[in-house]
Subunit: 630 residues, 2 copies
């Protein structure tokens, strides 16, 4: 069977506006993502595999299968890390049948399937003496969460390789679960959402309606106190009545993914309305400028509106990954470019910061300001983030394009060569660009046997003066930020669409109720949020740097720095804080500080903490607060 | 036996510069503290007593004594709440033999003593089936913490009433503890410090050196991993090597109190040096402008230097109370006015905010900015704070004065009539003032039989231009802020010292690395920190108010508002945030806001959240950041 590997297969979903394009259809040829995928294959996946072994995560499966006698190791949800790794590796196999990866995957899958019970149940924690505890603590014990990741991994493997063995394991477990839960059976919901989207995806693969129904059951029954009724677990109120995005950020995102998937299959508008309400609250009141989510260490949770501390940002890597996942689903469901904006933002900033340039060091927590103590680690006891960022990067090619009956949609920009199925035929699109360093993109169209169709070009929300031309001539229609520009015509082989998105330095402010950002600005260029890091700015503590409204910026591409980045050189100033030595509070008249003109340099946020430790900040103080007396 | 009730009896301590004056020697006659003590007696202590009963805390003692058959109720450290209540009530009995309070105290003491084991052990959690677990988990189970509070309560009761029964219970338990712990016996330290200062105080009462030695043992052995080695428990490094104030704020303060007490008895300079180092780090880098301590919800802990979020301040009431306790000990040890400054600051702001004006509602957490969701509660499951603020208020008269061989020290200001023992004779001091609303104080001296001695007047750190006169004539010597002004002479009956501390509105800034306070100021007048609360300022969201360097202030005493307060009326402005509706991030050029001149009103921080809920902030944005180009 030929592989057709997509992350969310809404191609048959009746309420999905857009249809995905398989990962393997898009060959990355760029200097940004292609090297990252290469590092993923060569470093990230092998080192994570070793860590799965080293930390006993694979032994847990061997133990459950009776192959080794040992204690269960680590957290009760550790199976999920193995599954996410398999999912990541499978996406790679879809476009790169790397034999080393394939061998690892096959051996892991064998361990997993050997650990399955005859009745389909599969969780290495609840075996032997803990068998009686299965499904007895849905709130805390993450059984359904692990099951969801197993299902997602199995689907990815099946779609990437065409093989069925691992998928059969998942289906068998899913059938076991549908036998346990549902109307007239056990009434319960998972403490940690995840299985909802997995079950919908399994329905998409198998067409077994029981899987879709159970996903819906879990969403419908949430909010009635079945897992304790807490806000943290988003169990305090029925999903359709949620007004504010609250609780554990990753759980919230995964739940929203599941609800969006159920919507795409059922057309249940009450779900879509709730999702849009939550999305608005999140993006207008609770999302970091990086797309990071989660303001509180306590409960890894969203805070109140405008509660977005920088130094104590939680902004878990998994939450940014899940923000991509949710927005991808919203984009598929609606075709609205605002979801693509948030998806791109989270991808390039909040999520990407979660992995070091070495491909083997990770952040779990992603502060937006730091004094140099927060450093990437090779692994975590709770290691949800490393395989999550791995599966995101492995699947990046799958987020570039979609199709609808009208034509092809271009969401992301990077040099690539894509062969896209459209209405039973094919279109080849070749992108050439230095995005995200340059906003100039050329898309060459090869309509292989097709004639009239549309190309929908995403004009990012940050791009105010985009110019689109076809074969050198400006097109009709004004490119609107945060919209898709539809180009419809009879395409000829070699037609060249060019998009020019001016990449000036955007100086952003945040809502005045975000306390920490008062009188501060963030620099953004194209999709990338910048920060100032100490190592680039030895003259002054970077927390003492300032900008002013007439500061000028100069950009410079440095191919040898941080894997190749555009730097922003700023013409700003530094405050002399010596009056504050040994002081915490001073009368305003005693605290006047001298300002010295200074140049300093900002780097993309995703690239911080890859060199020597030191202070960093995304939000930079700015003289003159942008107020006008009237 | 005549009562002589002091909180820290350093009168015999060889290394204590100052000697305390008993609580009952100082009769409050003022409009600030006297009404609060009255409310304490009439409302706080009776309602807390009822809650001790209602929540099963007293039943736990009856259960341990075999009087009732029931399960243990609540947290394993709940005994400590009962002890702290007895301590608070005992301080009241020192100056007011209120029969209702006395009856309650006697009944509680009887329940406590009935619950004591024959071997002296006393903890209502570790009885019956849990008896075997005694002293097996010093890190988590708070046995030594509860023991410490028992000892402190018993000492307070003994000193207030002259009775010995309850003290004997404490001594018996303390002897049991010295039998368990110490060199050649069990090596351990408490997870939650507290017993250290209790044991020193018990040594001061009983002169049993074993108690002092064990206190020292607990301090000497801390930091070697005996309770897990965590930073949170301040067990990561030996006390004398601590460089930075870290960990659980209350535990840190209690530990420091114990170390200061040990210093006062032993003269161990290595302890004093560590204490001074920690104090400098705390007051220069980690203390809220209110004297509140603890920046993090996680671990109720200090953060990194300058990590002082306002909205998510933890600033536990207990930590502010303990800040008073520690600074009182440092003041006794050294006579340095800087400790009195922090003591006064914490007392009037961070601690006092912990109790509502009704005397029966409490804050556990004390944010410095809020949107109206944070409200006082009548009790907490973990109810450490209510009886802690109660014992502080009950003992307030004891912090007004000290003596040394040179004379009398005046630390706090409020109308009162004090009879102070000095070198075996007496001095009567009568203060008349409207402090903290006015900085004018008159102290009339009645040297009953004494002749030459000094009066040391505290000139607060916030008072820059204090003028001191004697019988209307300026005195020699310039009053220095944060110092004591020594007036030495042969005093005549009726000599009047007047102190004029100008009470302008101080506009404070904080160190630029305190991220949330950038471009913000706090208003302070005398010892009181102010805040703006929504209910006083209906025209604009108080988070949108601003000040400018030329803002003027007008103060107004309102006798009927919030128990009588001086308001600060500010001539500032309000920003029109409508450009931000539905926006979280905007380009700076799109975010210019209009400013409208507006008057608004600030109230003392301690008085917030006593009326209808709404936004509040201590730190108010200020136009012009106090920077000077050079």
């Amino acid at each position: 069977m030929k592989a057709r590997c997509v992350v969310v297969d809404s191609s048959q979903s009746p309420y999905s506006r857009l249809k995905p394009v398989p990962i393997e259809s898009v060959k990355l040829k760029d200097d940004f993502w292609a090297p990252r995928v290469k590092t993923l294959v060569e470093v990230t996946l092998p080192t994570q595999y070793e860590l799965l072994e080293e930390t006993g995560r694979l032994d847990n499966f061997r133990r459950a299968a009776g192959k080794v006698r040992t204690d269960f190791k680590g957290f009760f949800f550790n199976d999920s890390d193995v599954y996410k790794w398999v999912e990541a590796a499978s996406y790679v196999l879809a476009f790169n049948r790397d034999s080393r990866i394939e061998k690892m995957v096959n051996s892991v899958i064998e361990e997993i399937s050997d650990a399955q019970d005859d009745d389909g149940y599969l969780n290495t924690y609840f075996v032997f003496e803990r068998k009686a505890e299965r499904w007895t603590n849905l709130r805390d014990m993450h059984e359904l969460y692990c099951a969801g990741h197993l299902i997602q991994a199995a689907i990815a493997h099946h779609r990437a390789t065409g093989e069925r063995m691992f998928l059969d394991v998942a289906v068998k477990f899913a059938r076991h679960i549908t036998g346990v839960f549902g109307p007239g059976k056990m009434l319960g919901v998972p403490g940690h959402p995840e299985i909802e989207m997995a079950l919908v995806e399994l329905y998409r693969v198998t067409h077994v309606e029981a899987f879709l129904n159970l996903a819906r059951f879990f969403i419908d029954n949430r909010g009635y106190g079945l897992v304790g009724g807490s806000v943290e677990l988003i169990d305090h109120r029925p999903f359709r009545e949620l007004e504010e995005i609250v609780g554990h950020a990753v759980r919230s995102m995964y739940l929203n993914c599941g609800a969006a998937d159920v919507y795409m299959e059922t057309g249940d508008e009450t779900l879509l309305r709730a999702l849009k309400r939550l999305w608005l609250n999140m993006t207008r009141c609770k999302m970091y400028v990086t797309g990071g989510l989660g303001s509180r260490y306590v409960g890894e949770a969203f805070g109140e509106n405008y509660e977005l501390p920088n130094r104590r940002a939680y902004a878990e890597t998994c939450a940014a990954v899940a923000n991509v996942m949710w927005n991808w689903r919203m984009l598929l469901a609606t075709g609205d470019a605002e979801y693509a904006d948030v998806m791109e933002l989270s991808l390039y900033n909040g999520a990407l910061a979660g992995i070091g340039l070495d491909g083997k060091s990770y952040f779990y927590i992603n502060p937006l300001a730091d004094r140099g103590r927060h450093r990437r680690q090779r692994w975590f006891e709770c290691a949800c983030c490393p395989p999550n960022i791995a599966r995101l990067i492995a699947s990046v090619p799958g987020y570039f394009y979609s199709t609808s009956k009208e034509g092809v949609w271009v969401h992301l920009y990077a040099s690539n060569d894509a062969l896209i199925e459209l209405n039973g035929r094919h279109v080849r699109l070749v992108q050439e660009t230095n995005y995200p360093w340059s906003g100039h993109v050329e898309v060459t169209v090869y309509p292989e046997g097709l004639s009239e169709f549309s190309v929908f070009l995403r004009i990012p929300g940050w791009s105010r003066d985009a110019v689109v031309a076809l074969n050198g001539k400006p097109v009709n229609g004004k490119p609107e930020p945060a919209h898709y520009l539809e180009l419809r015509r009879r395409w000829e082989k070699g037609d060249v669409i060019s998009v020019d998105m001016g990449m000036g330095v955007d100086v952003l402010k945040s809502h005045p109720h975000v306390l920490e950002n008062r009188c501060r600005v963030a620099l953004k260029r194209g999709p990338l949020v910048y920060c100032v890091e100490q190592t680039d700015n030895p003259g002054h503590d970077v927390w003492d740097l300032m900008l002013s409204p007439d500061s000028s910026f100069r950009v410079e591409y440095k191919p040898d720095l941080l894997g190749g980045v555009v730097l922003i050189h700023c013409d700003g100033s530094a405050v002399d804080t010596s009056v504050w030595t040994g002081r915490l509070y001073l009368r305003v008249e005693d605290s006047v500080m001298n300002l010295k003109p200074t140049r300093f340099t900002a780097i993309p946020y995703y690239a911080w903490a890859n060199r020597e430790p030191g202070p960093m900040t995304v939000w930079i103080p700015m003289l003159d607060t942008g107020l006008r007396n009237r």
